[in-house]
């Protein structure tokens, strides 16, 4: 594979990065070079379309300028305005304004951050005292020690070690959220990522850390500025839930259908912590999601949820790992895939119960609803159990809507196309209900309905 990016060189525009970070980046870069590119026959890439890993032609963005000369964009309680960059040498000079206007999401948010490529262009917040929510670039300078404690701690083990290393070596910006002990953030923190320009490559990074009995919910949306230019995102989200805390993370991936994305999630849940991770895939030509939950203390709970709506020739490749390190923890995974046209999905999940992790409860369910006779669903649900007194199960089904169901709805005056969509929608919404937050559910449903509408339009 041709390397899409040159070796990292500390940018002159940025204030001096901490030494630990630059040395981590250099180490990651040599790791990136040393790790072989996945090839056919690698178990972690079974059924994958390896051709999608050729990232030739993508490069870091230069088009959208930094917000300030020094690139740091601290978040203060008041809304920042008037810092919108204007690019004189581009015809889409008012793109940032346009994108900020399009960055609609939830009504009530504790903070809202908007990135164009890797540049923070807008931020506003009303966070409780003590909560940190700032760009990673700034956090690296202002809270270097705290970031160091949590930054990319787990070893990627789902096949994308090479790309995780590339991300680590190349990351320049993202979001850092830290919620101190006993602080609850009532409304979600909302983050918008826009991929702009042709063949642009971005490395968004989200690091969320909760202290003891803290609570926070982070919602991220990934979109393309337009539908005609391919982009590539190698994104990483790192979630560390402290003892007894509650950390929810929702990612909505709705890039245009020319783009590709690798999204790596690593979640660590300490004693009695509750984490929920949800991924919606409606966009991108090819998306690879790797999601790893590590249950590190008794009473920890991890819910791993996903809905993917794949149409046209979209390919979604999802790998999950429920790692029970500690006894007495709980994990539950529910992934649902809807497949239209020539779409393909891969689900490979593993529940791994370490020696000594007794009294583990771990469940894994993947359901595929096949909506065309040319789609392809691959499922590889797996279990590795090394402990006793465990309750583990997995289930995987692939099926289509039965004629009886359609008949039932038609008998009630709903035409067959609408009936199919109704059932497909209901099939997906079951997962959303597990988020237990109505405004958030309607936000996600909004993205789903947009996709359903585009599918309906294409079939007419």
């Amino acid at each position: 594979m041709n390397s899409p990016v040159p070796a990292p060189t500390p940018s002159a525009a940025l204030p001096a990065l901490p030494a630990w970070f630059t040395s981590r980046q250099q180490a990651a870069w040599s790791r990136y070079l040393a790790i072989p590119t996945p090839k056919r026959g690698d178990e972690m890439w079974r059924f994958s379309n390896i051709k999608q890993l050729d990232f030739t032609g993508f490069s870091r963005s230069t088009g959208v300028p930094a917000v300030k000369e020094d690139g740091a964009t601290s978040l203060s309680p008041h809304e920042k305005t008037g810092i919108l960059p204007v690019i004189p040498d581009r015809q889409d000079a008012c793109l940032p304004l346009d994108l900020i206007a399009r960055s609609s999401g939830l009504e009530d948010t504790a903070a809202k951050l908007i990135f164009i490529n890797e540049t923070l262009v807008h931020s506003q917040s009303s966070l409780p005292a003590g909560v940190l929510c700032l760009s990673l670039a700034e956090a690296l300078v202002s809270h270097s020690a705290l970031v160091e404690t949590h930054f990319m701690k787990q070893e990627p083990r789902l096949g994308s070690a090479k790309f995780a290393a590339l991300h680590e070596a190349s990351v320049v910006n993202g979001v850092f959220v830290h919620v101190p002990d006993d602080v609850e953030v009532a409304h979600p923190i909302e983050i918008h990522h826009w991929l702009a320009g042709s063949n642009t490559l971005i490395f968004p990074h989200t690091l969320v850390v909760t202290g003891r009995h803290a609570k926070v919910r982070v919602v991220e949306m990934f979109r393309s500025a337009d539908d005609l230019q391919p982009g590539l995102a190698i994104a990483f989200n790192d979630l560390a839930a402290g003892p007894g805390s509650k950390l929810d993370y929702v990612a909505i991936q709705a890039f245009n259908e020319l783009s590709r994305v690798i999204q790596i999630n690593e979640t660590a849940a300490a004693r009695d912590a509750t984490t929920t991770g949800f991924v919606l895939n409606t966009g991108a030509a090819w998306a690879r999601n790797e999601s790893l939950s590590r249950l590190e203390g008794p009473g920890a709970r991890s819910d791993m949820l996903s809905v993917s709506i794949a149409a046209h020739a979209q390919e979604y490749d999802q790998r999950t790992f429920q790692h029970h390190v500690s006894p007495g923890a709980f994990s539950d995974l529910l992934y649902k895939n809807l497949l239209y046209d020539f779409a393909g999905t891969i689900f490979s999940g593993l529940i791994s119960v370490d020696e000594g992790a007794h009294h583990t409860d771990a469940y894994q369910t993947c359901r595929n609803l096949l909506m065309s006779d040319t789609c392809e669903a691959n499922s590889m649900p797996g279990l590795e159990i090394n402990a006793d007194q465990v309750k583990c199960s997995h289930g995987s089904t692939s099926s289509q809507i039965s004629e009886e169901e359609i008949f039932y709805l038609r008998a009630r005056g709903i035409d067959s196309a609408a009936a199919r969509q109704l059932i497909a929608r209901g099939f997906s919404i079951e997962v959303l209900a597990r988020l237990g937050d109505e405004p958030l559910e309607s936000l996600v449903i909004g993205f789903m309905d947009e996709k359903f509408a585009s599918i309906a339009k294409a079939s007419n």
């Binding site: 059924f47 007794h358 590889m380 590795e384 159990i385 007194q389 289930g395 692939s398």
Partner: protein
């Protein structure tokens, strides 16, 4: 550990017959008339061809297979690293049964005799299983069966005889269900195979009695590299049984069999295996059936012995409405890894497959289910059901499940379910309250877990199986 340093040593002087009672397996010195020596080269293959008087096409086939074997890497990128412990240069690839080892019943270790007692194996069979007799004297017991088979036109011979005397039936299907290059071990078998059965059942013949490998006389029954080919012509039906529940005398540590089944239109084949090799054996087996229109292939598979078993019986459903089924029980005790599963390849409309797998891990044993279900595009009405359940007995027992299911198109349905559990304290308490000791209670619970599958085995087998599981469970609790 199990190799005798030399076959030329006199049995009397070599009285240290390396009985390894701790592992429950035992060996005798060998005196084989024909021996290809250790290691595998072109010379070994030529030697086997010469001894067996193979026709030229087969000699060529074996040499090609050897090349494939040497070229193919070990599948350790997904399979157990334990495979690396096989030393291919130490293995003997051909031992003729020209001269059978002579030894007396008294040489058989007591614990094996006790096992035979506990299993209720007939005296005649015991001697055979212990390697005391060259073969089980089946002539008397089964002569009636043989007569009837001949009358119906059934061919039931060993594979060497099959390829020599029935080439016109044998050759068109030989190596067609499992090509040489299917995997490293099928290539190995293709290069050095000897023994195994060749069966042909003519059109419309439905056998009432199951066929058993040890009905056959003068055959290499439990060959190291046995090769079995069974062809059921249109509308024929048979059940074939391989192996037995008793622990078997074994000196060779690598077994690599290839079994090919061909069920023509409307035929039905059931293949029952009970594998109980001693716990030093690598058992790497390739088994696959081809089911044509309306045909059915069922694998009923039970793995209790061996150090490492890698076996995924498969069915290719090539004709409309063909049906494949794998029913599998695995029991992994300390020092064992049972890596079993199933492979279902749907290649025609309205084909259905069913996989039911149950495994029990005792002590430090590891049981793995690995499965593949493939439903390609342009087919309709295919169905698959997969269930795999694992039971863990001790705290350090281990179990894994790695299924892979591919479905293309929306006219099919598949479902897969797996669960892992252990015998609950409540259940044990309930049984012990009624006067059973802990071991008995555990045994009952385990037998209950696999009961619905054991019933699929022929009667004698299921009785023996239950007793065997009792035996294996002994000392695992408390």
């Amino acid at each position: 550990m199990s190799y005798q340093p030399s076959a030329t040593l006199d049995a009397e002087t070599h009285d240290a017959i390396s009985v390894d009672r701790s592992k429950g397996d035992f060996t005798f010195p060998e005196r084989n008339k024909l021996d290809a020596g250790r290691g595998l080269t072109d010379k070994t293959v030529d030697y086997i061809c010469n001894v067996k008087n193979d026709p030229p096409w087969l000699r060529e086939f074996r040499h090609k297979a050897l090349k494939v074997f040497l070229e193919k890497p070990m599948p350790t990128h997904w399979a157990s690293k334990d495979l690396e412990n096989i030393n291919f240069d130490e293995i003997r690839y051909y031992l003729s049964d020209g001269e059978k080892p002579k030894r007396s019943w008294d040489d058989v270790p007591d614990d094996i005799k006790r096992t035979f007692d506990r299993l209720g194996i007939p005296q005649q069979e015991r001697a055979f299983l212990a390697g005391v007799e060259a073969q089980y004297d089946s002539e008397a017991a089964y002569s009636n069966v043989k007569d009837e088979l001949t009358k119906q036109g059934v061919i039931f011979v060993n594979s060497t005889e099959g390829l020599h005397q029935h080439e016109e039936v044998f050759r068109p299907w030989f190596g067609k269900v499992i090509p040489t290059s299917d995997n490293k071990f099928s290539a190995l078998n293709s290069a050095v195979f000897s023994g195994g059965s060749f069966i042909y059942i003519p059109k419309g013949v439905k056998l009432k009695q199951p066929l058993q490998a040890y009905f056959r006389i003068n055959s290499e029954n439990f060959g190291q590299f046995e090769r079995t080919l069974i062809i059921a012509d249109e509308g024929a039906e048979l059940m074939y049984m391989e192996g037995c529940t008793a622990p078997k005398f074994e000196t060779a540590t690598l077994h690599s069999a290839v079994v090919e089944l061909v069920a023509l239109k409307g035929a039905k084949i059931q293949y029952v295996t009970v594998q109980n090799w001693s716990s030093n054996v690598f058992n790497l087996v390739t088994k696959r059936g081809l089911a044509m229109e309306d045909a059915e292939v069922r694998w009923i598979d039970c793995n209790i012995g061996s150090r490492l078993t890698i076996k995924y019986p498969g069915v290719i459903m090539k004709g409309r409405r063909a049906r494949g089924e794998v029913i599998s029980i695995a029991l992994a005790n300390t020092g064992q890894h049972q890596d079993t599963g199933a492979k279902m390849i749907h290649a025609a409309d309205e084909t259905t497959s069913n996989i039911v797998s149950k495994s029990i891990s005792v002590g430090k044993g590891r049981a793995t289910y690995r499965g593949q279900v493939h439903i390609p595009k342009h087919l309709k009405g295919c169905k698959n059901n997969t269930e795999c359940d694992a039971l863990l007995i001790n705290t350090n027992s281990r179990t894994d499940t790695y299924p892979a299911i591919t479905v293309k198109g929306n006219r099919h349905s598949t479902q897969h379910e797996a669960s892992v559990s252990q015998v609950s304290e409540d259940m044990l308490f309930y049984l012990m309250q009624r006067g059973l000791n802990q071991g008995q209670a555990m045994s009952l619970a385990v037998n209950g877990f696999i009961n619905d599958l054991v019933r699929e085995f022929p009667m004698e087998y299921s009785v023996e199986l239950k007793r065997l599981i009792d035996l294996e469970m002994e000392g695992s609790v408390g």
